[in-house]
């Protein structure tokens, strides 16, 4: 009898009843109870319960499952909802267009930005051991200023690998143009013609092992372990050795046939989302740039990467790395006689930067990587995308609630014939889903169509991920989610109508929610105005930079690059160029006032004070006699280099900043030094030789040989013919090398490509936001005017002018836009002030930008509304009044 205490599992029983046909419930439950009891007699209660579950599940058969009459009714109702939704859509073409078109635009913008963000976030994630790879960052604290850079000393890698067991591998590269990395001429040793190539770098075998670059030919473990070997990428192998295995072949760099490089391996090209862009990797094995360079702790030229052993505490290791300063740097400083050696050790620390952070989280770290992303922009773009989507959603909400009056009777009738509120909510949610589905389809198409343009805009090479498995579920998921979100408010609002009131006809025709709608319109316009103002400010800054007096003359300067192979022919070329009519002057120097040309940091003192004073760090540029003239630098004092003065070989020209830093008020004739002493013969006015993000640094010009770039100052009315004659000269003097040239002003403006790109992207999205917002405003004003049709007609009959009507209809909307301006201005000011802080030279954030942005918003809004307003004012009042 104790069996009586056990009952069949409750959950199973409830589950059974949930699906079982009602008419079977009694007999089946009875049978299963009997079975349960008989099982209890035979076996344990647990098994009996399990058996009960089994029996319940066995009833999941077509004959026993309830075909609920309600579900077939549901289906019919769903069909009805779809049909009504579709009819509404088809009936009100303008509103549907605004809803769907705006939505689609928003979705397309979001999609494109999402692709952009995904690409930015995917940088450097493809290394097999990526989570253990770190880049060493040196943190130098000086006078409260912190500088971070990634260049380490040549022996740093080997030293830390030997000293710290946590470090499994350490590898470096050197991409300094000074050493011959960067761009060079190259050819196969069995060919004559040189070709210009970029992406040369010196690197350790171990760096490739750390990155585990995929090999096409050769063995990763031995591709750079012999002296004078080189690894090239697949695309370069295909170019120079089409259809053959280049391993073991020889290549000649810069026509220096005495020391060719043997190809030790071919690697797959670095993907676009890698911060490396090397093409030709020359081994560091037994290579020294100057005697003892590889063991010298006084120069930093090598970005260094570490592969840590699994489970290493990175923070701990960063602290331990401090010993490097004590062990290797301190002795050097003491030897150099630095009195502040002890303090210096305290100013240096090390950080380990995960390789995945290099692309996006690199703020404040100086490195040789040509372009970084910025995590802030990734966020910013994400936010902009979200706002555009929200603006589009608001259109949907506003129009749905505004048009509610037209649907009110339908809701009333549905309720009267027995709809629950939940049915009505369902109906409108389904309608919203229908819109969302249409918009997503359209948005997807739009995004796909515009992707090529977006790629140009953002200088990316994104492709549409049609083939990827996640696309369909993500799209469908977001489609449903956004459809539901946008439909939520309208459906609750519409379903709240009381049938009796609605059917009697005294629903306040859509005006009840005017306040909510106003708030939403204000939100839309605030966002749009912020974007407009930001765009203005960015453009202004770009314009300011590009037209600011930089202190040198960047117009009509032709740069001929890759001339280091010329050797003796340099003089011939220079002379022949000077004979051309339109050439004013020719200068040979690699150091130009644009980014990406040679730089060379040095410490300077007044003569004899190198052990007493702190050094003034400045650039030390090797130029020729014609440099000042060709670049159009202005001499503030003293004279230019002269060919007649033999003593000028140990003379320098400095810039005003250097004079100031050295504390010289009258520098001419004074002497200064780095490792040698020089006579100061001239002072040039400060000119910008870095981007406007930084201040002008101290600079020293000295006569010297740096033969990579020839600058040609032209005075040509017709640049094309001059170029042609220059090319002819080049062909005659240098037959085996194609000419490569650019213009100084182009190179200069390319320095601000990223800023201009920002500007373009912002404009695009600002325009998009405005379009979507205006679409909404357009539809909303149309609706308002429709509502007030009778009122307007009566006014017209009583003698109102078109102007009266226009004012009546627009004043409310203009008020909303004005409120938006008031809200948007401070927000935009704050944001742009932040952005401008990146620049040392910046345009003023003046009131006119805000006025202009605001005025634009008002004008655009007015134009949008006025079409409807004027149409209403011109309509024949009789037509509207006759109908009742």
């Amino acid at each position: 009898m104790e069996n009586k205490q056990h009952t069949p599992p409750n959950l199973a029983r409830r589950f059974l009843l949930a699906f079982l046909r009602r008419d079977l419930a009694e007999e089946v439950q009875g049978d299963l109870d009997e079975k349960f009891l008989s099982m209890l007699r035979k076996t344990t209660p647990a098994r009996a319960k399990l058996q009960y579950w089994y029996q319940v599940l066995q009833y999941l058969r077509p004959f026993a499952i309830r075909k609920s009459t309600t579900s077939s009714n549901h289906y019919a109702m769903f069909r009805n909802y779809f049909m009504i939704g579709w009819r509404n859509l088809a009936k009100q073409k303008m509103y549907s267009f605004v809803k769907i078109g705006g939505f689609a635009l928003g979705i397309a913008a979001c999609l494109l930005i999402a692709l952009f963000i995904r690409d930015e976030l995917s940088y450097d994630l493809h290394y097999p051991e990526g989570n253990r790879i770190y880049r060493v960052v040196e943190v130098y604290k000086d006078h409260g200023e912190t500088e971070r850079s990634v260049w380490m000393q040549a022996p740093f890698a080997t030293a830390v690998k030997a000293d710290f067991p946590e470090i499994e591998k350490a590898g470096r590269y050197n991409s300094g143009e000074l050493f011959g990395a960067g761009s060079n001429q190259i050819r196969r040793d069995d060919r004559m013609d040189n070709a210009y190539e970029e992406g040369f770098v010196f690197a350790d075998q171990e760096l490739l092992e750390i990155l585990q670059v995929p090999m096409v030919y050769g063995n990763l473990a031995h591709c750079l372990d012999q002296p004078n070997t080189m690894v090239i990428t697949k695309s370069k192998a295909d170019k120079y050795f089409p259809g053959e295995n280049p391993v073991g072949q020889l290549m000649v760099v810069n026509d220096y046939a005495k020391e060719p490089f043997k190809i030790g391996g071919v690697i797959a090209d670095f993907p676009a989302n890698s911060h490396f862009n090397f093409q030709f990797i020359i081994t560091m094995k037994e290579r020294e740039f100057g005697r003892g360079e590889q063991s010298y702790w006084g120069a930093t030229n090598y970005p260094t990467y570490l592969l840590l052993r699994p489970g290493t505490d990175v923070k701990q290791l960063e602290k331990k790395l401090l010993r490097v300063t004590e062990k290797y740097l301190l002795p050097l400083w003491i030897e150099q006689g630095r009195t502040d050696a002890k303090d210096l050790t305290k100013s240096i620390q090390y950080e380990l930067q995960p390789i995945a952070n290099v692309h996006l989280r690199n703020a404040g770290i100086e490195d040789p990587v040509p372009s970084h992303g910025d995590i802030r922009f990734v966020w910013l773009f994400g936010i902009v995308a979200a706002f555009i989507l929200i603006i589009a959603c608001i259109n949907f909400i506003n129009l749905s609630t505004a048009k509610s009056a037209n649907r009110a009777k339908e809701v009333g009738l549905r309720k009267t014939v027995g709809s629950f509120r939940s049915n009505i909510i369902n109906q409108f949610l389904i309608e919203s889903l229908l819109f969302s589905l249409l918009s997503f389809t359209l948005g997807l198409l739009l995004a796909w169509l515009f992707l090529p343009y977006f790629n140009v805009l953002a200088s990316k090479s994104l492709s549409f991920p049609w083939g990827e498995w996640w696309l369909a579920p993500v799209m469908l998921g977001s489609c449903v989610l956004i459809g539901l979100l946008a439909g939520l408010y309208p459906s609750f609002y519409l379903s709240s109508f009381k049938p009796i009131q609605v059917l009697k006809g005294n629903i306040s025709r859509g005006s009840k929610n005017a306040a909510t709608r106003s708030v939403l319109v204000v939100f839309q316009f605030t966002t749009s105005i912020i974007l407009i103002i930001s765009t203005f400010v960015i453009y202004r800054q770009v314009h300011y930079i590009l037209t600011k007096d930089v202190g040198f003359d960047k117009e009509q300067v032709l740069l001929i690059q890759g001339t280091n192979t010329l050797g003796d022919k340099m003089k011939t070329l220079k002379d022949e160029l000077l004979q051309l009519a339109d050439v004013k002057s020719v200068s040979v120097s690699d150091y130009l006032p644009i980014n990406g040309t040679k730089r060379n940091g040095n410490g300077f003192w007044l003569e004899g004070r190198n052990k007493i004073d702190k050094s003034v760090s400045g650039q030390f540029w090797q130029v020729d006699h014609d440099y000042v003239k060709t670049m159009g630098l202005k001499l503030a004092a003293g004279r230019d280099f002269s060919r007649d003065m033999a003593s000028d070989s140990s003379a320098v020209i400095i810039n005003q900043k250097m004079a100031k830093e050295l504390g010289l008020t009258d520098p001419i004739g004074k002497r200064m030094m780095n490792w040698e002493a020089y006579n100061i013969i001239g002072v040039v006015e400060d000119f910008n030789f870095d981007t406007f993000r930084s201040n002008i640094n101290p600079l020293v010009l000295k006569l010297g040989n740096s033969p990579n770039i020839i600058s040609v100052k032209l005075n040509a009315k017709d640049v094309t013919t001059t170029l042609a004659s220059i090319q002819t000269v080049w062909k005659r003097v240098v037959p085996h090398q194609p000419i490569r040239y650019s213009f100084l002003d182009d190179s200069f403006s390319r320095m601000y490509d990223d800023v201009q790109r920002m500007g373009h992207i912002f404009t695009t999205f600002a325009v998009l936001a405005i379009i979507v917002a205006c679409l909404g405003l357009f539809a909303l004003s149309a609706f308002m005017i429709e509502q007030r049709g009778k009122e307007i007609s009566i006014r017209l009959v009583l003698g109102a002018s078109l102007e009266n009507i226009f004012r009546l209809l627009t004043v409310n909307f203009v008020k909303l836009v004005l409120i938006s301006i008031v809200i948007a201005a401070p927000v935009a000011w704050y944001m742009m002030d932040k952005w401008l802080q990146d620049f040392s030279y910046k345009t003023e954030l003046s009131w006119d930008v805000f006025a202009l942005g605001g005025a634009m918003a008002v004008v655009i809004a007015l134009i949008t509304i006025s079409y409807q307003a004027i149409r209403a004012g011109l309509a024949n009042p009789a037509a509207s009044l006759r109908s009742e």
Partner: protein
């Protein structure tokens, strides 16, 4: 169209209904099936077959009495119809006819 031929499982269930008479309801038939054939079967499977046989017209059913074991719930008692009997016996005859033609077993009875 309703299928009128009998499957093997259907035939056994039909026979069991005949054997059990007044006690022919799903649970009991399933138990009887298990004890006679020593094959496991779920009540749901039996119930499903019974319903199908009823649709074909081989069985009729009505609600019987209730017991305490069933929590006071009534059971559905199945009875064979004349058509069901006829189909069963013609199935048997057909088989016997086949057996008779089978040389190794054709013993004549």
């Amino acid at each position: 169209m309703i299928e009128t031929r009998l499957g093997e499982f259907e035939e056994v269930i039909l026979l069991l209904v005949g054997i059990l008479g007044e006690e022919a309801y799903a649970f009991n038939i399933a138990e009887e099936f298990e004890s006679q054939t020593e094959r496991a079967v779920s009540i749901g499977a039996v119930h499903s077959t019974l319903t199908r046989l009823e649709e074909k017209g081989f069985l009729t059913s009505q609600m019987g009495e209730s017991t305490a074991e069933r929590g006071g719930r009534r059971k559905r008692i199945y009875t064979i119809t004349a058509y069901g009997r006829k189909t069963l016996s013609s199935a048997r005859d057909f088989r016997i006819a086949l057996w008779k033609q089978f040389p190794g077993f054709a013993t004549g009875s």
